[in-house]
Symmetry: C2
Subunit: 388 residues, 2 copies
């Protein structure tokens, strides 16, 4: 590529009232893409996430992992002087992001109608558990609640076991991604007609939007989808299988791949077996097929079979723990393991930005997460300078 271009969101100013995860994850993505993110925190304590484990040298590495590259100013939104500073910030901003309970921003005097009346170009993005409208909008929500209420927990896990939560805060993270999409779409509309809008993202909505075939299976058939362990509900083989020492995953759903799989592992007779002749039949008899395959896979370790399957062109892979996932040279080559710093300056590693744009910079070192109120002087000086 030629010379590196300015970051795609260069020039965009985001005022960020968000705390904990969903909102901060969204604004981190905006910062990674080049936006200037000014994090407005509560004086004294700041973002709750500053107290969340794990800690490195007494500082929250969790906080740093979702707040790199932002600036911080502490403002008491009930104090007149500080409120005036927030208004001055908003007058210079393109986007305000918040994840208070619906109604709370309005009670502070910064509700959508006040904002839009005074700053008609400003985009407000609100991330909440259930969205700004609807009968449940006032209910408090946390990740596990929307994972449970959306049905996501009901389709994850092994049948007959206690409920399983997706091991990451999927409700928050998905809402953060939809918030970024909403903000960027709203900016495009504003470029055309000059008006801001209110981006209203509900965590529950986001979970429903990614239920995928579960939602259409239920709506098309009236049958509630069941959890299916590591299996895909309608593709077989497409799951984890135990080898002698560890499980591997195999994704060989179509007939060609299935033939290659059974030939590669020395069970060629299965490709002629009428019981397993189509994906539909294999899915119906997935348990019988699993027993046959695992009896064979149990004769050698995972690494052996992964080599055999790679040679045969059968999609397969190891079930990595986090350490092994991050140790893959591919992950470093893709800059998905990057360094940043705690507010004190201590270096730590975190996940990189998965939005790879050719011709733009994707540095392996990311700017630090801010100290609470650490950018006050610079931010106030900027406000005093004329715009432009």
């Amino acid at each position: 590529m030629d010379a590196v271009r300015s970051a795609p969101l260069a020039g965009l100013v985001v005022v960020d009232l968000t705390r904990v995860l969903a909102g901060p994850f969204a604004t981190m993505l905006l910062a990674d893409l080049g936006a200037r993110v000014i994090k407005v925190e509560q004086p004294g304590s700041g973002d709750d996430a500053r107290t969340f484990p794990p800690f490195v040298d007494g500082e929250s590495a969790y906080f740093a992992s979702v707040n790199r590259g932002k600036e911080s100013i502490a403002l008491d939104l009930k104090d007149e002087n500080d409120r005036a500073i927030l208004w001055r910030l908003l007058a210079r901003a393109d986007v305000l992001v918040e994840n208070f309970r619906p109604g709370a921003l309005e009670r502070l005097g910064f509700g959508w109608s006040s904002l839009h009346a005074r700053l008609p170009r400003l985009i407000l993005a609100s991330v909440s558990g259930f969205g700004q409208t609807g009968p449940l909008s006032q209910r408090p929500a946390y990740d596990v609640i929307v994972q449970a209420m959306s049905g996501m927990m009901s389709i994850t896990g092994h049948p007959g076991q206690p409920p399983v939560r997706v091991g990451t805060s999927l409700g928050d993270l998905t809402a953060g991604l939809f918030a970024v999409i909403g903000i960027l779409a709203a900016l495009r509309a504003r470029d055309r007609d000059g008006a801001g809008t209110w981006v209203d993202i509900g965590m529950l909505d986001g979970q429903l939007a990614i239920l995928e075939n579960a939602i259409v299976r239920y709506l098309a058939t009236g049958q509630d989808p069941e959890p299916s362990g590591s299996r895909h509900p309608s593709i077989t083989p497409f799951q984890a299988y135990a080898c002698a020492d560890a499980p591997i995953v195999i994704a060989a759903g179509n007939d060609t791949l299935f033939r290659r799989l059974v030939e590669a592992i020395g069970l060629p007779e299965l490709s002629e077996d009428e019981r397993f002749a189509t994906n539909a039949r294999r899915t119906e008899r997935w348990q019988a097929l699993q027993e046959i395959l695992e009896r064979r896979l149990a004769t050698a370790p995972a690494e052996h079979w992964l080599g055999v399957l790679a040679d045969a062109g059968v999609p397969a892979g190891p079930v990595h723990r986090v350490s092994a996932a991050l140790a893959e040279p591919h992950v470093t080559a893709r800059r998905m393991r990057v360094s940043t710093r705690l507010p004190s300056g201590t270096p730590i590693e975190v996940a990189g930005n998965p939005v790879k744009l050719w011709g733009f910079d994707d540095p392996p070192d990311r700017p630090a997460a801010p100290r609470l109120d650490g950018d006050r002087a610079a931010i106030l000086a900027w406000l005093d300078r004329p715009e432009g």
Copy 2:
């Protein structure tokens, strides 16, 4: 709100070579936000997803659920005439989206360097398993493989059980969301300097980006995170608890909410119990706490406790199956359950668009998924009309 504004992405033309899920999910979001999406399919069979269950009247409801509102034209990319049509389409397009294996588009003659040389404003978005670069880029990948290789499966499920895959195709869906973010960011850069870019999204990268605290816990402590059932790894109570008839989830991580919880369910002595005085202590003794809470919760059904906890302002909710999730009046009020049509015209219901933008239309009826090649005549007529 006043009169409805034109859709945020109105005027945007997207040529869509994608199949199955990750790419089609991305282009569906673009279509929902107002882009014109022209789906280019293989003559004869079209998108593989047209053959995926569930079926309604012999047509794939799965296909319709991620392809509503798109147009379809069948083109044989190895035929000279059809290739010329694709070039004409691209000359009128803002974005080309594809999810072939890396290198396949180039072998067809539509690789990034050819596209960029001929159409310097065009944005190419590629979604693949491992991205366009790095040692694993040529490996075939499916959802279960990136869920396994990213570590996502290793943190989902109950300890000591066989691996659990997140019950939705999270690898594909997350990649689709990052692709939309990349496309919208690339459009913003192009608005500034006139140049297109290549948006390079890897499913594995996307999974790593949402591992959240698992990644920072490992990198900060060197300890591999364990699966933790329905529990949050560092907040307690924040999990599912069994009641007399069914489980509920409770999210009462801070000390105030914990006090409210134990008082509401008639165990006020726990708020004075030193063993459970802080979140850190509760997390350390989550099992003992679960036994005490469940002994009490077993005395009444879930519905009783949900009422008690709602009255006390303790965040809690039911563990819904998909049917119950969709039956919530809130879901309909939020237009997260919408109607669309199969290519033949048969109505079905699907999940709505979670990106709610005030002042823009969010119709409860969504345009149909296309018949294979169903829009050929209209698309060709459009190509024959002068631009503008």
